[in-house]
Subunit: 375 residues, 2 copies
Amino acid sequence: MLAVGLMSGTSLDGVDAALVEITGVNETTRLELLKFNSYPFTEDVKARIKTALSVETSNVEMICSLNFELGQLFGEAVVKICQEAGISSEELGFVASHGQTIYHLPRPEKTNLRPSTLQIGESAIISEIAKTSVVSDFRYRDMAVGGQGAPIVPYSEYILYRSTESTRILQNIGGIGNATVIPKNGQLDQLTAFDTGPGNMIIDELCRRFYGQEYDRDGAHGANGQVDQEVLQSLLKHPYFTKAFPKTTGREDFGTEYVTKILDDYQLAPDDWIATATALTAETIAQAVRQFADGQTELIVGGGGSYNPTLVKMIKVALPNIKVMIQEDLGYSSDAKEAIAMTILGNQTIQRQPSNVPSATGASKPVILGKVTYY
Amino acid sequence: MLAVGLMSGTSLDGVDAALVEITGVNETTRLELLKFNSYPFTEDVKARIKTALSVETSNVEMICSLNFELGQLFGEAVVKICQEAGISSEELGFVASHGQTIYHLPRPEKTNLRPSTLQIGESAIISEIAKTSVVSDFRYRDMAVGGQGAPIVPYSEYILYRSTESTRILQNIGGIGNATVIPKNGQLDQLTAFDTGPGNMIIDELCRRFYGQEYDRDGAHGANGQVDQEVLQSLLKHPYFTKAFPKTTGREDFGTEYVTKILDDYQLAPDDWIATATALTAETIAQAVRQFADGQTELIVGGGGSYNPTLVKMIKVALPNIKVMIQEDLGYSSDAKEAIAMTILGNQTIQRQPSNVPSATGASKPVILGKVTYY
């Protein structure tokens, strides 16, 4: 069956679309990526999303309208990826859309708020534009059974990467680094998933402040600088790194405020800072991996950080006994990984099978994720 | 199959739950009401909904949280109506939930807004509490094909009330009056639906101002007053009443501002005002009905206004050649009508059949409404 997965991440870049051929269900699922592309949001759309996800600037009217507007953009992305592959979207078995997260509140601190999440990008609109059925809203059902609604991709990682020959650790390096550990011959309930700590977040923020650049392209600044071991050892004392599993972190721990603080605390040349921040990401990943590694462990690095050769090299040096690969070494695409994951979740849903991973989200049981809009 | 329909209206009173036995699909649908009850919202919940539906006071965090909170209340309503009927909610084939509308923008005036609607009351939570599948979000798909997402009940009215012997006009009298005309032997695409004008809105507002009462209980004030024919004829000149079909109206035409204006324009005793407002509702309903009536027309009155005997009597007097009944005369319940309607729409959805009425909503075609959350 042909299917399109849509992923629209917290970076607000746009929407990723993966056209796949998918067959089977549960452990028999087989998947082939036929076409992948990203469709950037206009600056206007980005600005409206930013307005809608802020408590200070959002209101019910703009959320109501933006849900429909994003549905149209998502539907158009489905039509485009199909056109680029030379097929009609009507041939699809389904579209699986993650939606744009505008709020995620898994463990609210205010007592008057519920654990909850909110994704928008109306599936009814996607369905009409793509002329096919749509599965959407994957995170809600996991939260209804006490899960955090995140991470959402471990089920697809288990399907695509499980191995009878080695323990495989999927290390995604986005703003935050997160790992999914699939033990050799492991069953779904033996998966462990957690955030390793900062991914590109500190590196990116330093590039912005020192050079007005969005990220360290090709790891050039990191390669040009020297890691300051004293500063690195000091940064590694952050309490997050010794917290017990399962654990998650975010911008509140390693965002702009954190960067302001460390820049006040230590004086380094710009590229030395970037090299040291790169080493911090590499070393915290390595520390986490060492706890789960056995004799036959493979570390598969994905996400934007997998395109930073300085970072990948540091990880390899820190883990001499582990086979470190990037997604592309396995024939996959880092860029397409999450959009592909949506098609695996959507396939489970239309066949009424669960696809959350309670050991990763904290949910009390496996549940069928998502809602189906029938065309 | 057993099913529960949930309706939570714009009055913010609470949630109505109808337990039904439903069989068949499309024209073969048969339905029996087994149990009905209303579960009022607490004042706290009402206050949170009011905050969430206002552009001035709403924000993304409260909407995110309230969606989950209302899902819990809706799920608990399902469990309660089943307990009252002596069954377990696990025996249900499905729950069909309308959701709480917090915004409805079918024809936005601001050019930066999309035609859109927003109902909340998370189906994933309802599903977990009721331990059954849930159909929700009925209005979105109709809007995706150019409809106004309203009225939503005409399909169920067609199924329950169509007749080979007479034209039947379903007149609902809520705040606004709305009519669905089902021609004798008519097909679904021959339905007409429109708002007749004010229902109880003006009467209620006058009762509030004169007596601090929410509505004219048993039509007592209206019965005690005298209709002022001169004022009535003047009120009947409001441009809405001569507007072409299809047409909709609301609080913006006949709400508090309108009442303030007419109270300034004319001087009448309180009960004469209420009698005259009651006559306005009756006469505008009668005028609309006369346009569609043939020799064998039945007018079936429902909604809160059907419990105002003064109003029903005035309608009967204004339509001497038409058989005027209330829902209860047919063995139905005015209170339960919309919750029952949801089960008919939900049944269509799970059998992948359409249930919007394009001639009523303005949609370009029939579509399958709603989203299915599988338990």
